[in-house]
Symmetry: C2
Subunit: 203 residues, 2 copies
């Protein structure tokens, strides 16, 4: 028997907290609203997670743990660059369409509390660019791609894939498209972004 008889309630809380924190952020979220969302008494939140801060961290870490492996796919994988870019773009967009709130949530809270950066850096699976950098330099050497700075290329790949999810309300407004059309556009980006990147760097 574990410390807690069952984790039904604990799990319900985490899901509800995720929901509320992702929509309103740490400052905008209310403990009562999380309790309502989970259909439990507010005291239970503290019983299982001690404080709002700790509950938030549990949600944040879970979210980051979900995102990190996606990024490692392009940083630590061994396949050739072009193939990696195509599969990463495809997978990442598919993934994000399931969790569209994720990147915005992480970026917002990282900006709000810079301490979290140190926190996640100590994460075992924290994405690191060094391997990617070596690969890019090799491909430049053998002449499959034009000379580019690996960090800049990484930022470009990330930007093209992540930004449309982070800034969706703004982009929707600019391009004058509704939710449904925007989704279709994101779907198109699975190949459009790959082509765009490959075109930009291929010799």
């Amino acid at each position: 028997m574990t410390k807690h008889k069952d984790n039904q309630t604990e799990e319900k809380i985490l899901i509800a907290a995720q929901q509320v924190f992702q929509a309103k952020g740490m400052d905008g979220a209310r403990m009562q609203e999380i309790a309502d969302e989970a259909s439990i008494n507010k005291a239970m939140l503290h019983y299982y997670y001690r404080s709002k801060q700790l509950l938030f961290e549990a949600v944040f870490n879970k979210a980051f743990a979900l995102l990190a492996p996606q990024l490692n796919a392009i940083l630590n994988d061994d396949s050739p660059l072009e193939q990696k870019i195509r599969s990463f773009t495809h997978n990442y967009i598919s993934f994000m369409m399931k969790y569209p709130y994720l990147p915005g949530f992480i970026i917002q809270e990282l900006h709000r509390n810079p301490k979290f950066v140190e926190n996640i850096k100590s994460n075992v699976a924290f994405p690191n660019i060094s391997k990617f950098k070596i690969q890019v330099e090799e491909e430049i050497e053998i002449g499959t791609i034009v000379p580019v700075n690996a960090e800049q290329l990484f930022i470009n790949i990330l930007s093209l894939n992540v930004f449309p999810f982070v800034a969706s309300p703004l982009i929707k407004a600019f391009t004058n498209v509704d939710d449904k059309v925007y989704k279709a556009m994101l779907e198109d980006r699975k190949t459009a972004v790959s082509d765009f990147i490959i075109n930009a760097i291929k010799k």
Copy 2:
């Protein structure tokens, strides 16, 4: 004589509010902190701006009014596409290095309160993509660029330019660079991003 003897205080408040709202967001900002930042009594905030909500909207609208003309540069200008992309990228990055908080603030608050989208859409200078779309299709027709969807291209240009400012804490962590080096990288992007985009679409 206007209603207010002078607007020194009113202006001080707006600057202080901008500072605090941009750093902490609507929910995280405290009226007392804004008053302290402006070195005035808290009651003055209400005397000049009625409520937190109205003060926030004043700050938000001012911020958006600063950003919108930058985007119109690429959407409504008449010069050839390639030249526009180069000048836009250069100008936008220069501009954002002066106001690095701006895009994140706008995106965050637009996400928090979707009503603001309608609000800014009625703005006289609200960026619109239609002219840009025509231009892209013309350049495809005459064969200077490869066939691309104008909306997707616009999203790409925006992503590559804006994301590095929105997600700077995250990117700094991934690429393991400090503030100074990151600034230098952003400086490099003025040409690197232009080249990247042009390469991607030029025939």
